[in-house]
């Protein structure tokens, strides 16, 4: 018997233009929580996809309890007791929550699909995660955050020995995170082995026994979690020192650019009023289901408000569609990158320039040299990891895709930029860069609205935070050096 439950040896995976995995070794001990970390594009998801049989490696071997195995499909992986919650939301949206949870292992009575049992059992599992939602609802009717929770609930029924969680916490708020961690600990106590991929190093510290660190498709370090400090981890990942985020007191003008008065959309948010000033970084906090996404979708013209009014620079405006919003100098980086943000089949430069084409066209003909030049500027500014600006965006790692979408509005020179979960899935160094970019934009007079479930992020980047809960504004806060996330939570729940 080997010391390890699972061993991956010398795995090589190539994509056109990228060596995603360069002779990587990875191993798991029975009953441990292994953190897998690395910057965006380091190859974490690729490695796990190889393990799951989603991707076929060019070279390398996998051993389970000392015996060599071949995994050609997720079905075979599951047969070997390996299950995964993928990074991108991957639910069957036309089906109910309950059915999604039990998709791979239907609840049956006498060989017949038991709808009642499925719903009941799903309810129990959702309770464990403290999610209060009707399991018979179709997944397409719930928001991204809830979908994430459903994906996690699904791991609990896998019955797998090895459970891989690829960035499970990216869109969760403190509370859900805590629930998730409880679940992980519970699973561990049941003897399960867990791999968790995350960009939150505090989570690594809190949860994991060992940590595997990757950089640029190679393995750089495997060790006990308590043998490394957070700063060391960052150093291994980035191969350089990364500055801590500091709270910076900024001076903001008094000029009000955006004002909502009693904005209401029934069932989503009610009587929302706030004012945002020019050049301000305006944070919006709340727990999952607070209605932040809905509020700003409405302001952006994606939905219609039922009552209340919106003022831009003192003038009342009605946004009938995003076209109006953009014409008024507003941009939006949506929450669900893949579904709402990117044009998967198109190149990076097209994704960046799509809303700006008319600005670089003459007589309707687009100047593509200019488009690429500007895109390359964004690629450099945000350090997007890609072979070139011609690469299809779908071939980038999740974090890099997010940077491309951000670059779209940076290029567009908007007056007001709404960022819904802008750093979801983004690594520590890139996060710092995005914060820097946000501040830079704000210093140049752009008003930035940051919706985030990461309280620390809001505290460090915002000039002011609006706290929402269940569709209502619960208060406004000014962040300070010693402020902690729990304070915001208190305001939300008061």
């Amino acid at each position: 018997m080997s010391e390890y439950l699972l061993e991956m040896k010398q795995i090589v995976k190539k994509f056109p233009g990228t060596l995603a995995l360069n002779h990587v070794d990875f191993n798991l001990k029975s009953g441990e929580v292994m953190a897998l970390i690395g910057e965006n594009g380091a190859g974490k998801s690729t490695l796990m996809n190889v393990l799951m049989g989603v991707l076929k490696p060019e070279e390398g071997e996998v051993y389970l309890q000392g015996t060599k195995i071949e995994i050609k499909s997720p079905y075979e992986a599951l047969q070997h007791g390996i299950g995964m919650v993928p990074q991108e939301l991957n639910l069957v949206t036309e089906l109910s929550i309950a059915e999604n949870i039990y998709l791979g292992c239907h609840q049956k009575t006498n060989g017949i699909f038991d709808w009642k049992k499925t719903a009941q059992n799903a309810q129990v599992i959702l309770k464990k995660l403290k999610v209060d939602i009707d399991p018979r609802e179709k997944v397409k009717n719930i928001t991204a955050a809830f979908q994430e929770l459903v994906s996690i609930a699904r791991t609990l029924v896998f019955g797998s020995n090895i459970i891989i969680l690829d960035e499970p916490t990216a869109s969760l708020t403190i509370q859900e995170k805590d629930h998730l961690f409880e679940v992980v600990r519970m699973l561990k106590s049941e003897g399960k082995t867990i791999v968790i991929i995350t960009h939150h190093l505090d989570e690594v510290k809190e949860l994991s026994d060992r940590v595997t660190i990757m950089r640029d498709g190679t393995l750089v370090k495997v060790c006990q979690t308590d043998e490394v400090t957070t700063d060391e981890m960052i150093f291994y990942m980035a191969n350089q020192k990364v500055e801590k985020n500091k709270i910076i007191k900024r001076n903001v003008s008094d000029e009000i650019v955006l004002e909502a008065r009693g904005l209401t959309r029934k069932g989503e948010f009610e009587d929302v009023s706030f004012q945002v000033r020019k050049g301000e970084i305006f944070g919006v906090a709340g727990l999952v289901g607070a209605g932040r996404t809905e509020l700003f979708s409405c302001i952006y013209g994606l939905t219609k408000s039922h009552s209340g009014s919106l003022y831009l620079n003192g003038k009342e405006v009605v946004m009938k569609s995003p076209v109006d919003a953009i014409a008024n100098g507003i941009g939006l980086v949506p929450e669900e990158r893949r579904k709402q943000g990117m044009f998967a089949l198109l190149s990076i430069y097209e994704n960046v320039m799509m809303p700006s084409y008319h600005t670089i066209s003459s007589k309707g003909v687009i100047n593509f040299d200019e488009a690429k030049k500007r895109t390359n500027r964004q690629i450099d500014a945000m350090r997007i990891k890609t072979p070139s600006c011609n690469t299809q965006i779908k071939n980038l790692s999740g974090g890099n895709q997010q940077k491309v979408i951000l670059g779209r509005w940076m290029e567009k020179n908007v007056d007001i930029l709404i960022l819904d979960e802008p750093t979801r899935g983004i690594d520590v160094r890139a996060k710092g860069e995005i914060y820097r970019l946000i501040r830079e934009m704000a210093d140049n007079g752009v008003t930035v609205i940051v919706i985030s479930s990461e309280m620390d992020e809001l505290i460090s980047v915002s000039d002011r935070i609006m706290v929402m809960h269940e569709g209502l504004v619960k208060g406004f806060m000014e962040p300070s050096e010693d402020m902690v996330g729990e304070e915001i939570l208190k305001v939300a729940l008061k």
Binding site: M52, V54, S73, P74, Y75, A77, L78, Q79, G83, M84, P86, N90, L91, V92, T93, E94, L95, E99, L103, G104, H106, K108, G111, I112, F113, W115, R136, R154, F158
Partner: protein
């Protein structure tokens, strides 16, 4: 199917009729037939209902075949050719080889299954677009009919089996309708209550997601395409039994109606939602239109216009209803 699960009482059923695409289409169908009956006094007569049920059964059956594939997000342009080739095989076995007709039915339906499986192999193993694969195999299956029969019809199907296509249960309900109903019940139950059925929705709704939870998507697809072949074969053979002879172009025009029946019944063409009950309703509407045109003695020149207009009106009414409900 999907819509009814939350509503169990009678009022729930009523509500789900009023709030589903299939329901709207059903209402349009009933209204049309009532109007035609009021004008001609001829729709709701025992004789007429009998022939109506009989002729609609074929569209509906082939609609079932297509709906299965639509649920996967695929399409099968070869349903008509598979129906034709299977029916030819059946007729040849009976008239030329002298095989027991019931055995011949089984063999030819199995042949349909194989034809569907061939579609499935191309689609799954080579990851080809269903449209182009089934277009190709459709031409091949149809070509085989031409080559094998040289266009000459095969007659002499024995009465012992033609009664299945021509007779009626208790002299009232035509057997093809009975068969269609039985198939509908079986398929609905399979779709609703078996892993295979649920996996069809999962694969059709999100193939990547279904693979990651260990659903063998290719196996599901293979089986679905094969079943589609089998159901098409059933419809084809049944048509031979109904006509008492096999002809080169049996079912030739079934492809578009099969898709239309499914779509009118609320099955989405991009997969993952819909069901057999809707297809029945869609098939009934289409049969009702052509029946009504014929009953009203409307000029052949106007046929197409009226058919097109009714289909458009039905789906538009449904769209307006959905918009009002703010979905």
């Amino acid at each position: 199917m999907e819509n009814t699960k939350k509503n169990t009482g009678a009022s729930g059923v009523l509500k789900s009729i009023l709030t589903s695409t299939a329901g709207m289409v059903f209402i349009v169908t009933v209204v049309i037939t009532l109007i035609v009956h009021l004008i001609t006094r001829n729709f709701y007569t025992a004789y007429n209902i009998g022939t109506f049920m009989r002729s609609s059964s074929f569209t509906i059956l082939i609609g079932f075949a297509q709906t299965l594939v639509l649920l996967l997000g695929g399409i099968d342009l070869s349903v008509a050719s598979m129906a034709g080739l299977s029916s030819m095989i059946f007729a040849m076995l009976v008239t030329l080889a002298g095989i027991n007709p019931f055995l011949a039915i089984i063999i030819s339906v199995a042949a349909g299954f194989v034809m569907g499986a061939i579609n499935g192999i191309f689609i799954c193993a080579l990851k080809l677009t269903p449209f182009i694969v089934t277009l190709g195999t459709s031409a091949i299956y149809k070509g085989i009919i031409y080559v094998a029969t040289k266009g000459i019809p095969l007659t002499g199907i024995p009465k012992e089996v033609t009664v299945i296509g021509q007779g009626s249960l208790f002299g009232v309900i035509p057997y093809p309708f009975v068969i269609m109903a039985v198939v509908a019940v079986i398929l609905s139950l399979v779709l609703r209550f078996t892993s295979f059925g649920r996996h069809i929705y999962a694969v059709g709704g999100n193939e990547t997601a279904s693979r990651i939870v260990g659903i063998r998507a290719d196996r599901v697809k293979m089986l679905v395409y094969s079943l589609t072949g089998m159901l098409s074969a059933m419809a084809g053979v049944l048509m031979v039994l109904r006509l008492g002879a096999s002809q080169v172009n049996i079912g030739e025009d079934w492809v578009m109606p099969s898709i239309t029946a499914g779509v009118l019944g609320g099955t989405a063409m991009d997969g993952g939602s819909g069901g057999m009950v809707g297809t029945i309703v869609g098939g009934l509407l289409m049969s009702a239109i052509s029946f009504s045109i014929s009953l009203m003695g409307i000029s052949s020149y106007w046929n197409e216009i009226i058919t097109g207009a009714v289909v458009l009106i039905a789906v538009s009414l449904d769209a307006i209803r959905r918009m009002k409900q703010g979905k």
